[in-house]
């Protein structure tokens, strides 16, 4: 079964540092997403990406965050200057189309710990 792959699985960083979380979506998927889940809380939508641009973003996705598809296979989330409250699991997802919620595949996540 095709998978969405995320690296690293766990990242520890100091407050104020930049981090880049990496994702390899399923190869024939066209829509890409980042979500995050703070420990014990809901899975929250951050951003969706299609055709090399952001299609939607939530209020969480402020100027500290950016996304990129640098080479046609990777999809990255950059946090420019991490804060303690950025500590969370970050999930990448991809889908073949953007309707109805069918077939969205999530990765296993990157646990980001900001100290």
């Amino acid at each position: 079964e095709p998978e969405v792959t995320q690296t690293p699985s766990h990242q520890v960083t100091q407050m104020g540092q930049e981090v880049i979380l990496r994702c390899v979506p399923i190869s024939n998927h066209l829509y890409f997403y980042w979500y995050r889940q703070i420990l014990g809380q809901k899975v929250e939508f951050l951003v969706s990406f299609y055709n090399n641009e952001i299609s939607e973003k939530s209020e969480i996705f402020d100027d500290q965050f950016s996304v990129e598809r640098p080479d046609g296979s990777n999809f990255t989330l950059k946090i420019r200057s991490t804060k303690l409250e950025d500590s969370a699991m970050y999930f990448c997802a991809s889908s073949e189309d953007a309707g109805s919620g069918y077939g969205y595949t999530f990765g296993s996540g990157t646990r980001l710990t900001v100290v």
Binding site: V4, Y31, Y33, Y35, K42, V43, E44, F45, S48, Y50, S55, E56, M89, F91, A93, D97, A98, G99, S100, G101, Y102, G103, Y104, T105, F106, G107, S108, G109, R111
Partner: protein, 113 residues
């Protein structure tokens, strides 16, 4: 986006059938009902989707009454490995729009030996 309501938690025992009901009173005509499963420290995993009546796959069944204001996810003969959080999502891409799966608190199912 249609709001969903589901129980916060449920307990069951191995071998039992588990039914988790989700209310979505303001579901729109074009909305689909989708269920996801999430194990601790893993991403959500798609289980099943339906629009009306009954849908069955190798993992679960989804029952949707004619008014579509609720749906029931049925897990036959659960095992310890079915312990997870189950999310009911309702929505649709709409005309020209894109669907963003939006997760609520979900139902935390604990299966006991």
């Amino acid at each position: 986006l249609a709001k969903t309501t589901q129980p916060i938690s449920m307990d069951s025992y191995e071998g039992q059938e588990v039914n988790i009901t989700c209310s979505h009173n303001n579901i729109a005509t074009n909305d689909y009902i989708t269920w996801y499963q999430q194990f601790p420290s893993q991403g959500p995993r798609f289980i099943i989707q339906g629009y009306k009546t009954k849908v069955t796959n190798e993992v679960a069944s989804l029952f949707i009454p004619a008014d579509r204001k609720s749906s029931t996810l049925s897990l036959p003969r659960v095992s310890l490995s079915d312990t997870a959080v189950y999310y009911c999502l309702v929505g649709d891409g709409g005309s020209g729009g894109s669907y963003i799966p939006t997760f609520g608190r979900g139902t935390s199912l604990i299966v006991h030996p």
